[in-house]
């Protein structure tokens, strides 16, 4: 159909379909190149360099010199990297399924026509996303630390003692909880927006066939929002690999979170605390490549399953 229209272009059209998509995406592409690609290129260049001492004096001054893949070697041979990926795996196994499951559940519930207090619930679940990280740190300090935690207050009153929120292994649950709390609203909105984009007629016919709301949700809605769910899954996995806020928030309050607990904490430390930008750039590159690998893997599996379902 598109082809037939393009075959008969009209003279007075100022913007032809051939150029239109390029013009429409031009601002995005230009900004993308300028503020993401170029900085990434710069980071990669930086990752091949190191700050080394030149000149005399007691302290001397450091200048950056080319060191090739030296930074990559030290990143990849750092046992902490593997250990931190292991910690992320445990954390991700709790946080990702719960965040997505709850987000999908809430989005479907919001889409039930008869549900009440929709506006309130939608806003309430979304609100944690609006709490700035600086405050989240204090907030969770109060929620988790034994002498200020209202939960430990209750368990202690019941004679069970305080809850060791900030000690291994409970720590993983506590960290995941912050991620779930902060992320459910965001993911819910994404899935909900996707639900709202689906033509209602698709449910109407199912409804006329006598399907219940639960059946409609599971058989019609879920498959239709599956692409959105898969993408939020990919985003959540990326988010897990890039987790920083939750552990960094709690780090000053507990012994069980080291400054290299998550890869991004190491990167942050290198870039902003120990002034080793090249090391930070090298770790970032490794992390980004690993993320690409995982994303591609997840998308490939999702695509294959969709193909199989289609058969």
């Amino acid at each position: 159909m598109t082809a037939s229209v393009q075959a008969r272009p009209r003279a007075r059209r100022t913007l032809r379909p051939r150029f239109a998509p390029y013009l429409f995406s031009a601002p995005a592409v230009v900004l993308y190149v300028a503020f993401m690609l170029v900085p990434v290129g710069y980071a990669i260049w930086l990752s091949l360099r190191a700050y080394r001492l030149v000149g005399g004096g007691i302290l001397g001054t450091r200048q950056d010199v080319f060191v090739g893949l030296e930074n990559y070697v030290s990143v990849l041979t750092d046992p902490e990297l593997l250990a931190s990926l292991g910690r992320l795996a445990v954390y991700g196994l709790i946080a990702v399924p719960l965040t997505l499951g709850l987000a999908l559940l809430f989005a479907l519930m919001l889409d039930v026509p008869a549900v009440r207090a929709k506006r309130f619930a939608r806003t309430a679940i979304f609100v944690p996303y609006a709490v700035p990280g600086v405050v989240a740190a204090l907030l969770w300090g109060f929620m988790y630390l034994p002498s200020t935690s209202p939960f430990s207050y209750l368990t202690e009153a019941a004679g069970w003692g305080t809850i060791p929120f900030l000690e291994n292994p409970t720590l993983f649950g506590s960290l995941a909880n912050i991620a779930i709390w902060g992320g459910v609203g965001f993911n819910m909105i994404i899935i909900y927006t996707s639900l709202r984009g689906i033509p209602t007629e698709l449910y109407e016919s199912a409804r006329l066939d006598g399907a219940s709301e639960v059946q409609i949700a599971l058989r019609v809605k879920v498959p239709l929002v599956m692409p959105a769910v898969v993408l939020t899954l990919v985003f959540s996995l990326i988010g897990t690999l890039q987790v920083y806020g939750e552990p960094a928030t709690l780090q000053p309050m507990t012994r069980d979170i080291s400054q290299t607990w998550a890869p991004l904490m190491t990167i942050y430390r290198d870039a902003f605390v120990t002034d080793d930008l090249p090391a930070a750039a090298a770790s970032s590159t490794v992390l980004a490549l690993g993320t690409v690998l995982i994303s591609v893997l997840v998308l490939a599996i999702a695509n294959r399953r969709r193909m199989e379902d289609a058969k």
């Binding site: 001397g60 200020t148 012994r255 605390v273």
Partner: protein, 429 residues
């Protein structure tokens, strides 16, 4: 069409700019100069306003750039891009690493005339190899603040040596099982470095161009053993400081002291104002009875950056702020800090005690005694590496019950490795 061509032009010019690496151009000579100044001390704006009124030709613009660590990171980044301010406050611990990153200017020629305003030890904090890289603003001679009311209630003597500190800690635990004499957590590198220096250790030292690292010398390892034994016997807490948990305990009166420095009263007051009147300050416990020398913990200096186009004027302002009678008085009264300049410290001796301990009228007399006994601490170019390794390693040791001295050794190794990798000559173990 238009939007596409502008986009292309934009992209091209962007690339051109990137390649050319243009540098900022300065304003012309003559006329009033404007200086940018980053700091984080409270009420700095008021001080700057006073200066600006008196000096129409040298106007200072103040920016609150966040606390010590963060503003150092920001300063490094800005310096790399050629946007560093003319002046910046920096902590003594980060000054060497900033020098190595080529941020501060050698201002010896501009500030030599105010050397007399400081004691030798204070002046040494910003002098490296004969070159002065900043003017000390405030110092933190180490001292112990403690709950004198609770000590009395529990019948505990104020310790004057660390051995007595152990006895006092045990007495506190015996009298009230919910209470600890203090929390000394692994995150406090400054404290451990300070008490190790008090014991005679030099964590960084340089001789004939070769650095030596003393984080794992005998004195330091003994310090490690001592505090480990306190922790092992459950005589001190090792919970992090100033978390909501810690603050609550300060308020409840279940943490009874904070061995730290003269700035501690202000910090405690900000989280536990209701406990004012219950606190007192005493000299830090000694390792050897009769040896009152203590180290510094914390404190900051003001540097002039290499990026500054008006270093002389900038140094002028720094001298007024830190070394003059007027400036050091303001540092004391407005910023609630213990001034680095002698004039400010003398003035302090006549001042009222901090509001946390209004009953201790001899606070600043004791403070002056302590300050006159402080010995300088030399910080190395990679204190940040030491701090992050130390915290992680010591946390691990506390958690897993391995010897604390191993954490000290691991930190020393990491610091040496990092210095060697950067290109310093480092003495072998």
């Amino acid at each position: 069409m238009r939007s596409r061509s502008t986009a292309v032009v934009g992209l091209v010019s962007l690339t051109a700019l990137l390649l050319s690496g243009c540098s900022s151009t300065g304003s012309g000579d003559g006329g009033p100069v404007t200086l940018e100044f980053w700091s984080w001390a409270p009420n700095t704006q008021e001080l700057v306003d006073i200066w600006n009124e008196e000096n129409p030709d040298i106007q200072v613009e103040y920016t609150d750039a966040g606390g010590g660590d963060d503003s150092a990171a920001k300063l490094l980044t800005a310096n790399r891009a050629g946007n560093a301010p003319d002046l910046a406050a920096v902590e003594y611990t980060t000054l060497p690493s900033l020098i190595v990153s080529d941020v501060p200017l050698d201002i010896t020629e501009y500030v030599e005339d105010v050397q007399d305003a400081y004691t030798e030890g204070t002046w040494a904090q910003t002098t490296f190899d004969g070159a002065v890289f900043g003017l000390p603003q405030d110092v933190g001679p180490m001292a112990m603040v403690y709950r004198s009311d609770r000590f009395e209630e529990l019948g505990v003597e104020v310790p004057t040596t660390w051995e007595e500190f152990r006895e006092a800690a045990a007495a506190v635990r015996a009298a009230d099982p919910n209470t600890y004499i203090a929390s000394l957590p692994p995150g406090e590198l400054g404290f451990f470095a300070g008490v190790a220096a008090q014991a005679g250790s030099e964590w960084w030292a340089i001789e004939d161009g070769t650095w030596s690292v003393g984080i794992d010398d005998d004195e330091s390892l003994e310090v490690a053993d001592f505090f480990q034994s306190l922790a092992d016997d459950d005589l001190i807490s090792t919970e992090p400081l100033l978390t909501p948990e810690y603050n609550k305990k300060l308020n409840e009166g279940t943490i009874l002291s904070w061995p730290s420095a003269l700035w501690a009263p202000g910090v405690i007051e900000s989280v536990a104002p209701e406990t004012a009147g219950g606190w007192s300050m005493a000299p830090l416990p000694q390792w050897n009875e009769g040896d009152p020398a203590v180290a510094y913990q914390g404190g900051s200096a003001v540097i002039v950056t290499k990026a500054s186009e008006h270093p002389e004027e900038a140094a002028e302002f720094a001298k007024w702020l830190n070394a003059s009678d007027e400036g050091s008085e303001l540092v004391l009264t407005k910023q609630n800090a213990y001034p680095a300049a002698i004039a400010g410290q003398e003035l302090a001796a006549e001042s009222d005690p901090p509001t946390l301990m209004p009953q201790q009228t001899d606070f600043y007399e004791i403070a002056a005694d302590i300050a006159s006994q402080t010995k300088p601490v030399i910080w190395g170019p990679n204190v940040n590496v030491a701090k992050s390794t130390f915290e992680d390693q010591l946390n691990k040791a506390v958690e897993s019950g391995t010897p604390w001295r191993d954490a000290f050794t691991a930190t020393a190794d990491a610091v040496r490795d990092d210095m060697r990798e950067t290109g310093y000559e480092v003495a072998g173990d």
